[in-house]
Structures are given as C-alpha cells and as structure tokens.
C-alpha cells in the first residue's frame, strides 16, 4: 500500500494547499494500491497511516524561500528540519516526521513531502497532484526520470 496524505487547514487560505490537492486527487483515476487521505489538521494522529505502508507522500504548504505557487519535493529529513521538539496542539507535519523515527514499531516507509509555496492556484494544484501520484507510484527518482519537470520543482 502507498499513501498520499494531504495536510492543512481548508479554512485558512495560506494553509489550504494540502486540502486543495486532496480534492484534485479525489477526482482523479489512480492505481488501486494508492490511497489518498485528507489528513487536514490531524498531526500526530496520522502516525497510524504511515505505519505498514510502503511509501508515503505528504502534501503541505511550505515556506521554502521559493516563489508563490512553486512546488518543491523534500525528503523527510529536510521537512523535519525545524520541527518543534515539544508537542502541542498545533504540532504539524514536521513534528510528526520527527516523532515517527522515535515511536515507530515497524520498518519506516519511504517518505517524501510535496510542498507548495503560498496560496496555490489551479495549475499548481494540478502539477502537485500529478507529482504526488508519480512519486507514490514509482518513488521520487523514477518519477523524475519518467515525468515532465514539475513547476518549480527541485531535487
């Protein structure tokens, strides 16, 4: 099983990238072994979706210093770089990724984060959704070789 987990707050425009990509993915045809989850604000509670999974692609809003609408692909290590050490109610994806290594009771899946800069529009959402599916299906390296370069994506 592979999973795409879209996180964010659909009621806050600056954080709505994940939910918008989820809506796009929910309308797309996809392989049966790829599950798409609206992870919203579930934070640490998404741990159960990461375990016993071959590959996980998270989608979230990021501030990575790029231009608005840019899409970046981050490793789990990069995404957890500035994670808070201490849990709180707003502990998000970065905290989840940091906690994962410490609490996982099985082998860790391959994890990628598709990040979107700023408030995304239609083309960015489509690009991110296609990229998520490619990475979930093949892994990032294979997806880079087989797919057209993503809008603003970087290795």
């Amino acid at each position: 099983m592979k999973r795409i987990i879209c996180v964010g707050n659909r009621h806050s425009a600056a954080d709505a990238a994940g939910p918008l990509v989820y809506e796009r993915l929910a309308r797309m045809e996809r392989p049966l072994d790829i599950e798409v989850i609206d992870g919203a604000l579930a934070g640490l509670d998404l741990l159960r979706f990461v375990e016993q999974t071959e590959r996980v692609v998270f989608v979230d809003a990021v501030r990575a210093g790029g231009s608005r609408g840019g899409v970046v692909v981050l490793t789990a290590d990069e995404a957890e770089e500035n994670a808070p050490e201490i849990y709180d109610h707003s502990a998000g994806l970065a905290y989840l990724l940091r906690a994962l290594r410490r609490v996982s009771e099985g082998p860790l899946p391959e994890i990628w984060v598709v990040g979107i800069e700023g408030i995304p529009e239609g083309e960015t959402i489509e690009t991110a959704a296609d990229l998520c599916l490619s990475i979930a299906a093949e892994g990032y390296q294979a997806a880079r070789q087989h797919a057209a370069p993503a809008c603003g994506a970087r290795a």
């Binding site: 809003a61 849990y87 109610h89």
Partner: protein, 522 residues
C-alpha cells in the same frame, strides 16, 4: 527555552517589568503579556492573535453544514464539535436520538478525552519539568528520563498508546479523520459485533497501560482516594504508586510548588457531558440523572444549576465591533474590528461570562461540580496549577468504566437512527464538554439555511480577555501573584497557563524550511 522580553523603564521606586511571552505550544497563537513588580506578576493580558470567523463562514450554508465544518475548527476537538453540532440539530428537529446512538456518540467523545488528557499532561505540561530551571532539583534527572520531548520513556510510550486508542473513533465513526457520522436523529453508522469487540479490546489495552504505567494501581484503587490525606496514604502505600507517572507527577509538582501558584477566580463551569441513555446502568457523577459529567456553575465549592440563558459574550477588550455589556450567543455577533488604534482591545478571543462572572472550565471544574470529594478537599485551599492538572491526569479513571459499560450495552441489531425530517426552520443549542471544557453551539436555521451560528469554546472561557467591567479572564487572573525567579526563563508562567490546557484556533500549519521562527516560544 526562553522568552522575548520587553523591559519597561522603571518610573518609580517599585521597579516594574513587562514581559511579552508567546506561547505557541497551543492550538494557534497565544501571547501573554505580564507586568512584574518585585519578582511577582501584578497584571496580565492574554491575547489570541488570530481571527477565526468560523461563525461567519457558516451563515448562509445548508442546515447540516455545521456537522462538516465545525469539526474542522480544531484538529484536537473534532468529535466534541461534531457532538455539539449534532445536539443543536437534534434540538431543532425535536428528536431524541435512540439510546444506542447516544452510547456510540459518548464512546467517541470520551475516547477523544482519553487521548487528549494523557498527551497534554505528559507531552506538553510535564515537558516543562525537564526545563533547566529545575536542574538543581533532586528529581530533575528522573524528570528528564521520563519527559524529555521525543526521548523520555513516558513521552515515547504516550505517543504509542494514544495513537492506538483513537482507533475506537475510526471504528465507530466508519472513518477517521473527519468522521461525520453523527447526524440529527442519531448516527449514520451501525457498529457490527466485530466492531464492538475490537473497541473493547482497544479500550482494555489502554486501560491496562493506564493502570500499569500512569496510575500504578487498578482504577478501583485510585477511586478510593477521597481526600488529601487519602492521596498521601495512596502515595506511600507502595513503590508502584510512588514510581507511577501519577506518583511522580505529584512528587515533582509539589517539589516545585505548583500547589502554590495559579489560583484564579475560583469560579467553575461545566455544560455537562455524556448523556445517560434511559436504560443504562451507568450512573451520573454527583447524583446527576441526565449526564455522566454533570452541568453546573460553582463559586468555590457552592454549586448551582446550569442555565444557558446566563451565558453572555463581551467584546469590550476584543477586536470586534463594540456593543454594550454582554450578549447571549443566540444574539451574538462576530464582526471583526481591528483598527489598532484602540489600546483597550487586545485579543481576537471574546470574553464569555456566566451570570456576569468569569469562569474556568475543564477537568477541575467537572470534578468540583460533580462534588468529587478529593477535589472539594483540595478546593478548601483554593484552586491551583497542581490540582487543575491532577484533575486532568486522573479524569480517564472516571471515564473508562462508563465506556466499558456502554460497550457492553450496545446491541448491534438495535436502533441507531430515528428518521428525521429535513430541517428548514428553528433554533437549537448543542452543549457538551470538550477535553478542555465547556463547548456550546448556538444555531438558528431559517429558509433551510444557517441564519446564525455562534460557538463558544473552552479556551474562550479560560483564555478570555477582560470583560465590559474590566474583570480579567480566568488565566489572566490565575497569573496574578506568580513569582518569576528568572524573567529570561519564565517557565513558571507556562505551568499556570498550561494547567488550563490552552487551545486557541487552528492556524497556519506551514512548514518552515531553512529558517527559524521569528519569535521564541516559552
């Protein structure tokens, strides 16, 4: 950890300092500004720094949209909002959900509390026990071994165990996250026998872990503790009690003086939680016949019946268009007004009051209103940060036996939904207790649209700014008198505020890559 500090120049012989302290270990943004004199807090202002406007998003939408939108207000209290939204619609439809539907709703809501109480205590509140401010304390090394974030033994175990118990919500709700299975008239899912067995297994496993690791004794033994003397006796009774996380919490909290800080107004509010089905064997606490956790208001230990008509919201110090005094939420308005020119307004949170008074809500309020003898005994000396957090830590012991009973009472071939006509007109109120306290939804439907929706959350009560009479909110008041030994590391202020389990709104959850946050959290 440190805090940003803005020091005012002393203007008199009594030196005063002002600290601005962002606490972003909460759901959303919260900033506390305090004034210090002679090493103690002499004034405090609590500022919610993000506008929500959820109520305005709901106006004009379909009558059932509150069931889908309000659970997304918060990533922690989704089931509590779903419960309140459903109960408001039940009331409008004039429908009493069937007993088994009530049991399923109760089980999901209680599961959310089981998870939240343990996580907040050991991942957030007790994380401060490993603060360097306590490095000279005899128990510091053990505190670090247990609670150092993402390393401590208890911290790791809590994440593992609280992850599993939430599966009860997923099973009963048919999906998780975003379980929207509560509907006016009952629930939209029917649990199978296998579902119920799985829930019983998950609950039994959580109870076993909670008893072994957290309490150090069976729940039945803990519930025999009825006084402070009984608590001391329980603590000395065995090494298992002393070395449990509850035992260690009591020892460490007393050592650092949490029982001497965080007093507050001493007013308590519970909206009541967990409706008792007419045919259940579960008995309400404190003699309640309608809820397991009774509704009520208490000034000190004097409890009176709860009357929702006495709830009002003030905005004199909130960034909203002014009105005189307070307004009942059924007539409330949420019109943002933040010019920045009015120094008296300092928070996006409104100031809810009960019968004109500020009131704290949460597990301690529930224990007081249920007339729990241990907590009434503590209250003789007034509330404090220790007893507030203790109430949260032991609340699961009050809830799990009822959950087990409800699971045994549900019959898979029972009735879980009563056909309910479409809602086009009416007014209803949905109240419950979220993990952090009293939660209410006040809803009006007209022409098959939401005409009015007003929500008062637990943190609006606890973290409110001053009201129209300039009376401080509960944790603003609780901070008064707190000694701050080191303004550069005011961890003690965190103890006071976090004993209320602050949870403001969900805010921007963006990853910050390659840059640090512009401010330093407490």
């Amino acid at each position: 950890m440190s805090a940003t500090a803005t020091l005012n120049v002393p203007t008199s012989c009594t030196a005063k300092k002002t600290l601005n302290i962002p606490l972003n270990r909460v759901e959303g943004d919260l900033e506390i500004r305090i004034e210090l004199a002679d090493g103690r807090v002499v004034d405090a202002w609590s500022s919610g720094t993000m506008y929500r406007g959820i109520e305005n998003i709901l106006v004009g939408r379909g009558p059932l949209d509150g069931l889908v939108i309000t659970p997304r207000i918060c990533g922690i209290c989704t089931t509590a909002h779903l419960t309140a939204a459903s109960k408001a619609l039940d009331a409008i439809a004039g429908i009493q959900p069937p007993p088994d539907a009530v049991r399923v709703r109760n089980l999901a809501l209680t599961t959310e509390s089981l998870q939240s109480d343990v996580r907040q205590t050991f991942l957030t509140f007790a994380a401060d026990f490993a603060n360097p401010a306590y490095r000279e304390r005899p128990l510091f090394e053990e505190a670090c071994r247990r609670y150092t974030p993402l390393k401590g033994e208890t911290a790791i175990e809590v994440i593992r165990q609280t992850k599993r118990v939430l599966e009860i919500v997923a099973i009963l709700g048919g999906q998780w996250p975003h379980s929207s299975y509560m509907v006016p008239g009952g629930i939209a899912t029917v649990p199978s026998l296998a579902d119920l067995l799985q829930c019983r297994h998950l609950l039994a496993a959580y109870r076993s872990w909670y008893e072994t690791r957290i309490l150090g004794c069976p729940i039945e033994r803990w519930r025999e503790v009825r006084s402070q003397a009984g608590l001391d006796g329980w603590l000395e009774e065995s090494a298992a009690h002393r070395d449990s996380d509850l035992g260690f919490f009591i020892r460490f909290a007393r050592e650092i003086g949490l029982d001497h800080i965080g007093r507050g107004h001493g007013n308590f509010l519970s909206f009541g939680q967990l409706d008792l089905p007419p045919d259940t064997q579960v008995r309400g606490r404190g003699g309640a016949t309608d809820y397991l956790i009774p509704a009520g208001f208490a000034r000190g230990s004097e409890v009176s019946a709860f009357d929702q008509a006495k709830v009002a919201e003030h905005v004199a110090h909130s960034w909203y268009v002014d009105y005189a005094g307070g307004r009942h939420p059924s007539a409330g308005q949420t019109q943002p007004y933040a010019t920045g020119a009015e120094s008296q307004k300092y928070s996006w949170a409104k100031a809810p009051r009960y019968d004109g008074l500020p009131a704290e809500t949460g597990p301690l309020a529930e224990m007081v209103i249920a007339r729990h003898p241990l907590f009434l005994d503590f209250l003789a000396q007034g509330p404090n940060a220790f007893v507030r957090q203790l109430a949260r830590l032991v609340r699961p012991a009050e809830l799990m036996p009822a959950m087990e009973q409800w699971l045994s009472e549900i019959t898979p071939d029972g009735t879980f939904y009563i056909p309910t006509p479409a809602i086009s007109e009416g007014e209803g109120i949905g109240t419950t207790q979220a993990a952090r306290g009293a939660l209410g939804h006040w809803v009006k439907i007209a022409d098959a649209k939401i005409q009015h929706y007003q929500i008062i959350t637990p943190t609006a009560w606890n973290g409110s700014p001053r009201d129209s009479d300039d009376v401080r909110g509960p944790w603003e008041e609780a901070l008064i008198g707190t000694p701050v030994a080191d303004p550069a590391n005011p961890v003690v202020l965190g103890h006071v505020v976090r004993s209320f389990d602050p949870c403001l709104v969900c805010t921007v959850h963006a990853l910050h890559r390659g840059r640090s946050l512009a401010r330093q959290p407490l």
